[in-house]
Symmetry: D2
Amino acid sequence: MAGNKTVGIGLVGAGFMGRCHANAFRSVSGLFDTGVEPVAEMLADASAAIAASNAQALGFARSTGDWHELCRDPRVDIVAVTAPNALHEPVVMEAITAGKTVYCEKPLSVTARSAERMTLAAEAAGTLTLVGFNFLRNPMIRLAKDIIDAGEIGDIAGFRGRHAENYMCDPDAPHSFRTHPDGGGAVADIGSHIISMARYLLGPIVEVNAKCKTIHKTRPLHAGSSERSPVEVDDMTHSLIRFANGTRGSVEANWAAFGRTMDLSFEVTGTKGAIAFTQERMNELLVVKAGAISGREGFVKIEAGPAHPPYGNFCPAPGHHLGFNDLKVIEVAELLAAWNGGAPCMPDFREALEVQRTVEAMQNSSRSNGPVTL
Amino acid sequence: MAGNKTVGIGLVGAGFMGRCHANAFRSVSGLFDTGVEPVAEMLADASAAIAASNAQALGFARSTGDWHELCRDPRVDIVAVTAPNALHEPVVMEAITAGKTVYCEKPLSVTARSAERMTLAAEAAGTLTLVGFNFLRNPMIRLAKDIIDAGEIGDIAGFRGRHAENYMCDPDAPHSFRTHPDGGGAVADIGSHIISMARYLLGPIVEVNAKCKTIHKTRPLHAGSSERSPVEVDDMTHSLIRFANGTRGSVEANWAAFGRTMDLSFEVTGTKGAIAFTQERMNELLVVKAGAISGREGFVKIEAGPAHPPYGNFCPAPGHHLGFNDLKVIEVAELLAAWNGGAPCMPDFREALEVQRTVEAMQNSSRSNGPVTL
Amino acid sequence: MAGNKTVGIGLVGAGFMGRCHANAFRSVSGLFDTGVEPVAEMLADASAAIAASNAQALGFARSTGDWHELCRDPRVDIVAVTAPNALHEPVVMEAITAGKTVYCEKPLSVTARSAERMTLAAEAAGTLTLVGFNFLRNPMIRLAKDIIDAGEIGDIAGFRGRHAENYMCDPDAPHSFRTHPDGGGAVADIGSHIISMARYLLGPIVEVNAKCKTIHKTRPLHAGSSERSPVEVDDMTHSLIRFANGTRGSVEANWAAFGRTMDLSFEVTGTKGAIAFTQERMNELLVVKAGAISGREGFVKIEAGPAHPPYGNFCPAPGHHLGFNDLKVIEVAELLAAWNGGAPCMPDFREALEVQRTVEAMQNSSRSNGPVTL
Amino acid sequence: MAGNKTVGIGLVGAGFMGRCHANAFRSVSGLFDTGVEPVAEMLADASAAIAASNAQALGFARSTGDWHELCRDPRVDIVAVTAPNALHEPVVMEAITAGKTVYCEKPLSVTARSAERMTLAAEAAGTLTLVGFNFLRNPMIRLAKDIIDAGEIGDIAGFRGRHAENYMCDPDAPHSFRTHPDGGGAVADIGSHIISMARYLLGPIVEVNAKCKTIHKTRPLHAGSSERSPVEVDDMTHSLIRFANGTRGSVEANWAAFGRTMDLSFEVTGTKGAIAFTQERMNELLVVKAGAISGREGFVKIEAGPAHPPYGNFCPAPGHHLGFNDLKVIEVAELLAAWNGGAPCMPDFREALEVQRTVEAMQNSSRSNGPVTL
């Protein structure tokens, strides 16, 4: 670690995800040998005072109330963007222009059109990009992909996916960026996770046929407000999907799913086996394969362990579960390795754009009451 | 039991379901006080010899190779139809004409058009009818309905259902009535179960938007045959659905779901709670409701017991699970009670017709690539 | 079935278990080909009136208020004893004397000394005997035994068993035969189940070291009584055990286990695998074995199906669960087959006596505060 | 964080647990406001070269091949001891003498006698001590304790605990410190975890009655060796236990439990409810309590969330699981807060000594074949 070349990190935003980024950059070198040592150079936030306070709490050397300054800072190599979604495009564009590596939280932007501008700019500039779909970093998800890719469960026939949480169950949960017509709604906010996972496992989705539903028709203007205004985004979306490889299935996005805290789940059915997973038990993967002796067959509950990289970076023994924050560390490790000349990291802007296009295709399908081809 | 008035049972067909019927009629009086005692009068099968052999095995007094004879027999009061699906209409029509009560296995017939003829005939004749969607008889399903109807989980917002089994996973599983274009396919064969359950819990489905998929494009003409012919029915169907009450959701039917033996499952999401169930653990219902103390909330695993009628008819103590065959006994008990002047039993032909129409609407939707209104 | 030779059944007692027996005898011939057809000849109960009423309800031809009469009846071949435990010995002794086959509910008697008298009498008379430890009849338990006996999980090293229910949780649950010093208490009432299962799977238990505990020190004299008297039996017993084959482990019996309706469960650990089971999910067996590919290993959830005899007698397809009452049908089928000249059925009186001795050894060990060798 | 007073950390040992400590000290300030900022001052290891390499990898400023030097270093405030167990006493004694705070991995030492010397020395010196029973830091375990202490499940009647893993299943797993007669064996290595958890939840254990068993009688002298020598420690121990509060129960320690990676589990039964937990699903707690409506009762699956401190330090939303390494961060946060003048942290040396005494009491009980009082 000492003696490594260093890489300067600039963090824009210090909310839930900003803090998660900061901690991942802090932890990564004790767990992964990426060849580079991140240095927490600068934190930008809504004002100089807020930024200073958060920089102190999160261990950043300098702070600013002006993200432009951060993007241009010569000691910042990687700009990590966890600002509100509507700010992603301007911050990212300036970071690209300044020649930085860009690490942006999902969604890439509030609209696919905006995401496309960012993607094209990054590609034109040869920018190294990464978008924070951290659930993909779970060793059990990587195992699922390995099993699929190796043909262990045969040809893939069906996919059934879901991301259901309960954080908008309360009809008095107020409006926020989450309910803004640009980029808001359950399918954009968390549907994007199951879409990205579906694409990671099985490739592009080429057709959707969706129906969005708003369960709570109005919400308070802000927390505690007695004034309410209509909700224009979905609380719940169900969609039929078709993959480029011919697999068919469905996905659901639901942020008003009473009782569900993190049902990011799927079942992949192949002609010779199947895989089932839920993030509610993120250290387990259920796998069944053809070939078992009659009367002995069934789903195997595989528990995460050193046989599932990069679990071993966290612990040399099985049974010691990874947590959510560990996934972010893995993500950051892959980013740093790529920055240091390794393989490009995924999902890049292009992939995140495709996810966003899929989200919008679902929204369009719901409006037009028919299938939309991508 | 002795001293009760008797009711003569005529059974047409003695396969998987015929045997299940016979055993239910045999067991019912020891478990339920229906006021009538069933007498196994006559069994009809494909030939006189087969019928005689099965009658002996299943305890029927008389047998016949001609179901017409059974339908006209004066000592037969209830005609139980477990013959191949294509025979349902002629047998049922004759039983109706003869003034019998008709207890028909699902599906009611091979097409909705045929099912409609049967329904209209039964209604015109005032026939007491019952169709064997036995999964509805599970006390835990009745509990789910009670919870929903009492408003315990608030207004219903979403439904996610599935019936997945693995019995057609094998690409060499041969053609049979199951793959016949009339009445065959996964959505007709088992999708009907999850549709009937959805309707039981939440009422009519008024719109579907489905996609059927044939996974194994050809199958052997018959078991062991090297000659194969194309499969014209679905192995897997996903559908968006809308209920009359506005609830939206999805269902999947899949008979090639590797690893799944009986995933007849659903999650009903309300504004104040949710219910989850799978037939793989048919003695459990998961329920979460608003109002728990913060930090103590979550899904409750309710286990079947005497508090869930008619569990108590089988056992006075909780923890002694019901099995599949017990569901058939409950069904038969309700039939006998209705025959004896009690409340009409459900699902009757009309309800089964609606299920079948929903199945066909899904098939039509898949063909037309768009939503179909019912 | 018709044409079979018949066997006359006399049932003594018509409570929870009497009814369960009656239904099993009624159902068995539709499900099993035992070569004989049981005929419900006579039911004996506490008075002639009660017996007559129960005989009618359960389909017995004749009834009596005097079990002596039943034991001597020439048309009764098998005496099924479900009377209160304290009556087991006199009824059974008379049935043995009369040359009947004896089918007795567990426990065999209220004390091991009594059970020994019964066993010696039966052995001297060459009586065919069966004791109703019905949980052993579960196809998944038979599978567990097959796996162990075939060496699939290597040499057996450890056993951890439990039978926990909640039916005596309530401190106001009154005294009854269950709390009588002779034959009462949790370890006698339900501990006997896990002991019989342990013996079935792994053979004789030769040493115990137990501690009994009375949680509720007094109970009402009878339901609703305000008068209370001390409880002299255990609510909960934990014991170390050693099997003749060297396996060590522990068992718990607990009838005041809040939240547990039927945790009759065990884990058998071998040098090359392990098996886990709970009656709460009686159609599942968890099995792990050596030899899996690294990173793919884990417990397999095996679901009951036709590959697990005699499941196929109930249903030709997997996924259609058996219930508690089905286990009694299997038990009765084995009894009838043995009566008809087949292999002797187990557990016979001798085996039930050994279970009872093990129970008493635990009680003695608790009193003496040290190990007891059997 | 910046501006905080700093605390110098000296780490002795850099294996599995040393690395875990290092990462926890690195991460803690981004997640907890302890008022102090740890500085990775010095790392000691088996040789200067190894120490230098590990110091670089783990971000320590200085290194040494001589732990005496570390203990005496003026800039080291806290000595974290993750050296082999046999070294705990000398390192800790010197650290105490030098006036350091001591943070020692479990077990405190190889024998209770040694642990007692360490404890007396620390108490005489007024040393702040902490022993690394990190599983106690799980918010769900804290929740369990809160529920018990608040009387939510009534008086406690029974405890059933286990720590089962599979890391010594292989008969060719070689000898190591784990199998050394001093401090080795399953009950010492992992039994200590379930004992510490039992004590945390229910208080002192005052009597044990145990049986230790060696499953694999010989093991290779070292990895790959063809020479084998006898194993003198247990692979599996079962024990009856009695708590000072009268609760009775059992514990099992088993490091040859095929298929189990981390079954650190318990069920606490009270007169008005029960709690069940397994570390295999460390973000869930199952709780059942009296007072539910009949037919709606059962175990609630509570998922970790911000209502369960200090979960909220890691994530503001529920459903984002904690992992094993997060537990170590919580432990370190409590240590730093105590160092900074907060409440003393637990388990201190005294508590760890009691755990070790309980372990040895089990070993003694097994040898003497009878109960041992503590």
